[in-house]
C-alpha cells in the first residue's frame, strides 16, 4: 500500500501569473498540451474520476468544427463547497483552464454551469471574466466563456442532464453512448470538467507534468481540495496531497471521538473506525469529489443514512425505475425496520436492491445510492435496527 501521509499543499489557490501561463499554452500545440495532461495522470475532480487527458484527447480527435468546453460548477453534492471557494478566490485560473482546454481541443466556446445558489458570486465573476477575455484576446486566443445558471436540482450536475438543462429542457440524464466527447452540449463534441479539474490542469501546464507527478500516488496523482465538515474542530477547505489514509486524515481533523467518515458525500462511502487505518483516500481506496464528513459517537448512523436516502428520494430525476422507486423503497424500508414494522432480515433484501440500483440505474446518481447504503447498513447494522 503506497501511503503518502497527510501533507497540506497550496496549488489550487496559489496565485500565479495567469497571463504568463496562457502565453505558454498558446505557444504549445494541441498535442503538447494534451500530452502534459495525460502524463500528469490527472483524474477528474468532479467525482467520477475519469482521466482528464483522455477526455481531452477524445474530444480533440472529433472532426466536428463546433465543439464546447463546459465547466461544471453545479456543486450539488451534500457537504461540498470547494468549487465555490475556488471560483471566489481563483476564478481567472478556472477561465484559464477552459481557454487552454479550448486551445487543446479546437473549441472556441465555453460555458460555465453555475449552481443557482452561487448567483451572488456573479458580479465579481463577470468583472474578472471581462478582464480575462481582454487578456487572452490580446495573446491571440479565439475563445469566449458564458455563464449558465443551474436551478437547484442535484441531478443537473450530472453531465448529460446538465447539457439538457443548458439546452432548455428538463434535466434528465441521457443514454450513454454517445458520450459527451462525441455528442454533448447541443449534440456537439464536448469536454466537460469540474472547476477544480480545470484549475489543476492550469497548474500542470504551469509547473510541468514531471513536477506534478511528484505529488500523490500512482493511482491518485497530485493533490485535491477537500471540503471538511461534520464533527471536526476545524471545518473548512483544505488542499491535501492524495494518498493519505483515513486514519491520518482523522488524526488531523477529527475531534478525538470519530466513529465514521463519509467520504465523497451522499454518493460516496462511509468508512467505519475499524477501517480507518487500511483505507486510502483516493482512487485506490475511497475516491472523493472533495466532501469529507466526520461523525463522532454521538451521531445516530440511522439518522445519517435516513438523511442521505431522503436526499436521494427527492433528488433522483425520477425517470428510471431502479432509482426512482428504489430510493423510495430503501427509505421506507429502513424506516419500517427501525420501527420494528419490518423484520431486520428485510435489510438483506434492501442490500440486494441497492446492488440492482448500482448495475441497472441509468446514471451515476442511481448507481451510487448503494455506496452509502451498503457501507452504513453493513457497518452499523445495529444502529439501523435498534
Amino acid at each position: 500500500m503506497e501511503n503518502k501521509g497527510l501533507t497540506k499543499v497550496d496549488l489550487i489557490f496559489e496565485s500565479i501569473d495567469v497571463r504568463k501561463v496562457m502565453t505558454k499554452a498558446f505557444e504549445m500545440t494541441s498535442d503538447e498540451i494534451i500530452k502534459e495532461i495525460l502524463d500528469s495522470g490527472l483524474k477528474g475532480r468532479g467525482g467520477a474520476g475519469f482521466p482528464t487527458g483522455l477526455k481531452w484527447k477524445y474530444t480533440a480527435a472529433e472532426k466536428e468544427p463546433e465543439k464546447y468546453i463546459v465547466c461544471n460548477a453545479d456543486e450539488g453534492e451534500p457537504g461540498t463547497f470547494k468549487d465555490r471557494e475556488i471560483l471566489d478566490r481563483a476564478a481567472s485560473k478556472v477561465y484559464a483552464g477552459m481557454a487552454m482546454a479550448g486551445k487543446a481541443m479546437g473549441s472556441k466556446k465555453g460555458f460555465i454551469y453555475l449552481r443557482g445558489e452561487y448567483r451572488f458570486l456573479l458580479p465579481q465573476l463577470f468583472v474578472e471574466l471581462h478582464k480575462f477575455h481582454k487578456m487572452i484576446h490580446e495573446i491571440g486566443y479565439d475563445f469566449n466563456i458564458e455563464y449558465r445558471m443551474g436551478s437547484g436540482a442535484y441531478i443537473c450536475g450530472e453531465e448529460s442532464a446538465l447539457f439538457e438543462s443548458i439546452e432548455g429542457f428538463r434535466g434528465e440524464p441521457r443514454n450513454k453512448p454517445p458520450y459527451p466527447t462525441v455528442s454533448g452540449l447541443f449534440s456537439k463534441p464536448t469536454s466537460i470538467n469540474n472547476v477544480e479539474t480545470l484549475v489543476t490542469a492550469v497548474m500542470i501546464i504551469d509547473k510541468g507534468a514531471k513536477e506534478y507527478v511528484k505529488l500523490g500516488t500512482k493511482d491518485s496523482r497530485g493533490s485535491k481540495v477537500f471540503s471538511i465538515s461534520g464533527d471536526t474542530p476545524i471545518p473548512g477547505i483544505f488542499e491535501l496531497e492524495l494518498g493519505m489514509t483515513v486514519q491520518e486524515f482523522v488524526n488531523e481533523f477529527g475531534d478525538g471521538d470519530t466513529k465514521a467518515v463519509q467520504v465523497g458525500g451522499a454518493s460516496g462511502f462511509c468508512v467505519p473506525r475499524k477501517r480507518f487505518a487500511d483505507t486510502i483516500i483516493g482512487f485506490e481506496g475511497v475516491p472523493t469529489g472533495g466532501s469529507m464528513k466526520l461523525f463522532n459517537s454521538s451521531r445516530s448512523m440511522y439518522n445519517v443514512l435516513h438523511n442521505y436516502l431522503d436526499f436521494f428520494a427527492e433528488e433522483s430525476c425520477g425517470q428510471c425505475t431502479p432509482c426512482r422507486v428504489g430510493c423510495q423503497q430503501l427509505l421506507k424500508g429502513v424506516e419500517k425496520v427501525k420501527k420494528g414494522e419490518a423484520k431486520s432480515t428485510y435489510l438483506t433484501e434492501l442490500v440486494k436492491l441497492a446492488d440492482t440500483m448500482k448495475v441497472a440505474s441509468k446514471c451515476g446518481l442511481g448507481q451510487s445510492v448503494g455506496n452509502a447504503f451498503r457501507s452504513i447498513v453493513e457497518n452499523f447494522r445495529e444502529e439501523i435496527i435498534y
Binding site: N175, P322, Q329
Partner: protein
C-alpha cells in the same frame, strides 16, 4: 457490419443497430416497456437490461448500439435478479387492481408481472404514499396516474409525433409524474384528444373514455331506435382485436356482428364521406373561383380539410388566424349525425328524439367532437355516443359472438351506400384522392387521368406529400380553370401538419388545397384503433384500405346513388341552404396552453 455474440450465438448486424434489435434477429426476446417502435429511445424503464461481459454495469438493450466483439447475456443470474427487482419496483408504485382495469389482459406491465412477479411481493407498497389522481375531464380519454409507470411514451408521442406537448414530465424523485400545463385538467389544455398517447401507453394509465354501457342501455331500450355508423378505417383494423393479422378486411362480418349486437340499423360513415366530397369539393371550387377569378378575398386559400377533429382543435389552439382557411364542412361523422336525426328520421318516420345515434370510430377525438356545442344542428345531440374500434371489439366479445364464423352481410340501405372514394378517407391522402376524383370530373367532364383512378402521388406514408394536377379540357362553367395547375399538399401526424401549417402561415408555399389528418397514417392509425401500432401495422391497414377501394363497384363520390338521391330529395344542392344548416360548421379560437 458488426459481429457480436448474444447468449453464445453469433450474429451480424449493421452498425448502429441496438442490442435489442440484434437479439430480435436471433429470436431472443428481451422484455421492454418504455421502448416503442414509433418513438425515440428513452432507456428509462430499465426492464431491458442485459449483461455485457466486461462492463461495469448492466446495459439497456434498447439504448445500446452494438459494437464489434460484444458478448451479451440476456438471461444471466444478474439480469434475472435485476429484471425481477425492476418489475417488482414498478408494481410497488402501482395500483394493480387488474380486474377493475380497462387494460386487463392487454397490459404490458401485467404481462411482465405474470412472467416475473408471482407469489409474495418483495417490496413495500408505495401506493399509499402517492397522491395519485384520475383526470376524467376529457370526453375522449382518462388519465389515471396510479396506473402510470412513468415510461414517458405518451410524452414522447405528444411531442415527437404530434408537436403538441400537452403532457410533460413534472417534478422529480418520488414526485415525478406526467402532468399537463400547471396540472390543469386535460379538457383545459392544448390536448387535441387525438389519443395517440392512449395508443402507445403500455398500461391502463391512459385509456379511452368508454361508453359501452351507455350503448348497451340504448340497445336494450325498446323505446329507442339505435342507428350505428362505421368509419372507413374501422373495417381494416377491427380484425386485429379479434384474432386476425393486421391488414385483414372484415367489413361484411363487422356489419353482421353489429346487427347481432342489436343495432336497429347498420349504416356507413362512408356514405357521408362521399357527401363530404360533394360539399367540400364544391366549397373548394367556389373558393378558387372567388379568389382567383373574382378577386374576392372574403374567402381564404389554401383550403384545409376539416374531417379530423384532432387537427381542428390543433389549429384552433395553435393557428387561430388560419381558421378561415378551414373548410366549413363538418366531418363525415357529424354530417351523418345531423342527417340521422333529420333526413333519416323523416324517411323512416321515426321521432328523432327516439333515435340514438352511435358511431364506431378509429378515433378518440371524435368523442370530443360529438360533444362540441356546435354539433346539435338536428335540434338534438347529433351523435349520442362514439365508440372506438377497440370498444366495438369488446362489445363483440361481451356478446359472445364467434366473429370468425360470421357470414358477411351488407349495410342497410338508407345512408348505407358508399363508394371506394368514401373508403379511402381512412388513409392519409384519401380525402385528397376522393376529392380529386370528383372535382376533376366536375371541371373537365372526364375522369382523373390516372390509371384505374388510383392517384398514386397522393398515397403513401411520407409525412408531407405534394402534388400538382394540371387541369385541361374544362367544361364551360369552369373555363377559368383551363390550364391551371392545382397544387395540393397532404400531411398526417400533427408534427407534419404543423410543418405545413407553419409554411402556409408564413406565406412560404402556395397550395390550393391541403388535406390534414391528425394521426400517423391518417384515420387507420387513429387513437381508437387496436393496440399495438407500428409503421408496419399501419402499412398493412393502408394496403387493406386501397384494396377495399379496388373491390368497390363505384369509386367516385358523385356516382353514389344515395348521395344523388339525398340532394334530390332533401338537401337540394351542394353548399345549398340546407347543407349549410346541417352539414357545415364554424370554429373557435382557443388559448395556446
Amino acid at each position: 457490419m458488426v459481429t457480436l455474440k448474444i447468449n453464445d450465438q453469433e450474429v451480424k448486424v449493421a452498425a448502429g443497430t441496438t442490442v435489442l434489435d440484434a437479439a430480435k434477429k436471433l429470436g431472443v426476446n428481451i422484455p421492454t416497456l418504455c421502448n416503442h417502435p414509433d418513438l425515440c429511445v428513452a432507456g428509462n424503464c430499465r426492464v431491458c437490461v442485459v449483461e455485457q461481459t466486461g462492463a461495469r454495469t448492466l446495459i439497456a438493450a434498447c439504448a445500446m448500439p452494438v459494437s464489434e466483439g460484444m458478448d451479451i447475456h440476456t438471461n444471466s443470474l444478474k439480469v434475472r435478479n435485476a429484471r425481477k427487482h425492476i418489475v417488482e419496483l414498478l408494481l410497488s408504485e402501482h395500483r394493480a387492481d387488474c380486474t377493475k382495469c380497462y387494460k386487463n389482459q392487454k397490459c404490458e406491465l401485467q404481462t411482465l408481472a405474470n412472467e416475473y412477479s408471482f407469489g409474495e411481493h418483495i417490496f413495500l407498497d408505495l401506493v399509499e404514499d402517492h397522491p395519485y389522481a384520475i383526470d376524467r375531464s376529457s370526453p375522449a380519454f382518462l388519465k389515471d396516474d396510479s396506473k402510470c409507470i412513468r415510461c414517458q411514451r405518451c410524452v414522447r408521442t405528444c411531442a415527437q409525433l404530434q408537436h403538441v406537448s400537452a403532457i410533460a414530465v413534472s417534478h422529480k424523485g418520488s414526485h415525478m409524474k406526467i402532468s399537463s400545463f400547471h396540472d390543469r385538467p386535460m379538457s383545459h389544455v392544448v390536448c387535441t384528444n387525438c389519443g395517440q398517447c392512449v395508443n402507445r401507453c403500455p398500461t391502463g394509465a391512459l385509456t379511452e373514455k368508454t361508453y359501452i354501457d351507455q350503448v348497451w342501455d340504448a340497445i336494450y331500450d325498446t323505446d329507442k331506435h339505435v342507428v350505428v355508423q362505421t368509419a372507413p378505417a374501422v373495417r381494416v383494423a377491427l380484425g386485429e382485436d379479434l384474432g386476425y393479422d393486421p391488414g385483414e378486411r372484415v367489413t361484411g362480418k363487422m356489419v353482421t356482428a353489429l346487427r347481432q349486437l342489436g343495432f336497429d340499423s347498420v349504416l356507413d360513415t362512408d356514405f357521408t364521406a362521399d357527401l363530404t366530397i360533394m360539399e367540400e369539393g364544391t366549397e373548394l371550387l367556389t373558393r378558387l373561383k372567388k379568389v382567383l377569378v373574382e378577386n374576392d378575398h372574403s374567402m381564404a386559400l389554401p383550403m384545409f380539410t376539416s374531417c379530423s377533429p384532432g387537427w381542428i382543435k390543433f389549429i384552433e389552439h395553435k393557428y387561430p388566424k388560419m381558421l378561415p382557411n378551414l373548410s366549413t364542412c363538418k366531418s363525415p361523422q357529424q354530417m351523418f349525425g345531423a342527417l340521422a336525426k333529420t333526413f333519416y328520421a323523416q324517411k323512416r318516420n321515426i321521432d328523432p328524439s327516439k333515435i340514438v345515434s352511435v358511431s364506431i370510430m378509429p378515433c378518440t377525438a371524435k368523442k370530443y367532437e360529438a360533444d362540441r356545442p356546435e354539433m346539435r344542428s338536428s335540434g338534438y345531440k347529433d351523435i349520442d355516443f362514439v365508440l372506438t374500434t377497440r370498444e366495438l371489439a369488446v362489445m363483440i366479445k361481451q356478446a359472445g359472438i364467434d366473429f370468425r364464423t360470421l357470414e358477411p352481410t351488407h349495410y342497410d340501405s338508407l345512408m348505407g351506400t358508399s363508394t371506394g372514394a368514401g373508403v379511402i378517407f381512412g388513409a392519409t391522402g384519401g380525402v385528397m384522392e376522393a376529392a380529386l376524383r370528383t372535382a376533376y370530373e366536375i371541371v373537365t367532364g372526364k375522369p382523373v387521368p390516372f390509371n384505374n383512378l388510383n392517384i398514386t402521388p397522393v398515397r403513401g406514408m411520407d409525412g408531407v406529400k405534394e402534388a400538382t394536377i394540371k387541369i385541361e379540357g374544362t367544361v364551360d362553367e369552369w373555363k377559368f380553370l383551363e390550364g391551371a395547375e392545382l397544387k395540393v399538399a397532404i400531411a398526417h401526424g400533427l408534427v407534419n401538419a404543423n410543418k405545413v401549417a407553419k409554411a402556409v402561415s408564413k406565406g412560404k408555399v402556395n397550395y390550393h388545397f391541403i388535406e390534414i389528418m391528425a394521426c400517423p397514417g391518417g384515420c387507420l392509425g387513429g387513437g381508437g384503433q387496436p393496440i399495438p401500432t407500428s409503421a408496419e401495422i399501419r402499412q398493412k391497414r393502408m394496403e387493406a384500405i386501397y384494396s377495399e377501394d379496388m373491390h368497390m363497384d363505384l369509386r367516385k363520390s358523385h356516382e353514389n346513388p344515395e348521395v344523388l338521391a339525398i340532394y334530390k330529395e332533401f338537401l337540394e344542392k351542394p353548399n345549398g341552404h340546407k347543407s349549410h344548416e346541417l352539414l357545415h360548421t364554424h370554429y373557435i379560437e382557443r388559448e395556446s396552453y
